[in-house]
């Protein structure tokens, strides 16, 4: 993908492929290409829509990467670094017990 600059030359726009897996779904992983500055929150919500799940009073869905709970406010670029593909797992975080 590219955009036109004023001088008329094309400048490549970086997109990062995000993939989110969730084991208890008949659907395959959620995949999208997003701008680096997109937040983890936007990816999480899109993945939850794909898997048809929503947060509840006693639990919330979070994205993990490398086992780490990734905060909503982080950007995709912060997680991906220089990589063009970043994989997440959608986990149901249960707070009761």
């Amino acid at each position: 993908m590219a955009i036109q600059e004023e001088a008329g030359t094309a400048r490549p726009v970086r997109l990062i492929t995000v993939q989110v897996s969730f084991p208890v779904s008949v659907k395959g992983p959620y995949r999208a290409q997003v701008p680096p500055q997109d937040t983890i929150s936007s990816v999480r919500l899109a993945a939850m829509g794909h898997f048809e799940v929503s947060d509840g009073a006693d639990y919330a869905y979070v994205l993990t990467h490398g086992g780490r709970d990734v905060p909503d406010a982080e950007t995709v670029e912060q997680v991906a670094g220089e990589k063009d593909l970043v994989e997440f797992r959608l986990v149901k975080k249960v707070v009761q017990g």
Binding site: F22, P23, V24, S25, V26, G56, D58, Y59, T64, G67, R68, D69, R89, V91, K92, K93, V94, V95, Q96, G97
Partner: protein
């Protein structure tokens, strides 16, 4: 003893569980006596020198949540409080996890049988349980129980 359908369903899903655990520095071992029981070796992300052993026993798969117990080692007894990690909802003195992904949790909370906490039967619930265990170890771990 679990029925043949359960064993076939477990066989179909266990490879993904084993691969996930290897990626986290752990491993999956099927119990020698009970083919519907598995042993996990798992490590908290913040304390990789600590290894915990978990016995996951299925009665009906994927229809019901498994029994989940911590043990001193693979094949060991599941009655040691020291075998348990300190994590909210994990109860070393009761030898259970009070969350809606274990048979023990559902037995304690009948209200989880329906609604958003109901046991999921689609996809790979075995992997889902193991991911939840690893998530708790990576993000809520506070040491070994005394």
């Amino acid at each position: 003893m679990a029925d043949q359908e359960t064993l076939l369903n477990l066989a179909a899903d266990e490879a993904a569980v084993a691969a996930f655990l290897v990626g986290c520095g752990g491993r999956l071992v099927r119990d020698e006596a009970d083919p519907a029981a598995y042993w996990l070796a798992v490590r908290p992300g913040s304390a990789t020198h600590e290894t915990y052993y978990v016995k996951v026993t299925w009665s009906v798969y994927p229809g019901q949540a498994p029994s989940v117990k911590f043990a001193d080692g693979i094949g060991g007894p599941v009655t040691s409080t020291r075998a348990w990690p300190v994590i909210p909802g994990y109860r070393p003195t009761s030898f259970d996890i009070c969350k809606p992904f274990t048979a023990e949790g559902f037995a304690l909370h009948q209200e989880w049988q329906a609604g958003p906490d109901a046991w999921p039967t689609e996809g790979n619930p075995f992997l889902w349980v193991v991911e939840m265990l690893q998530y708790d170890l990576d993000n809520s771990y506070a040491g070994r129980a005394a």
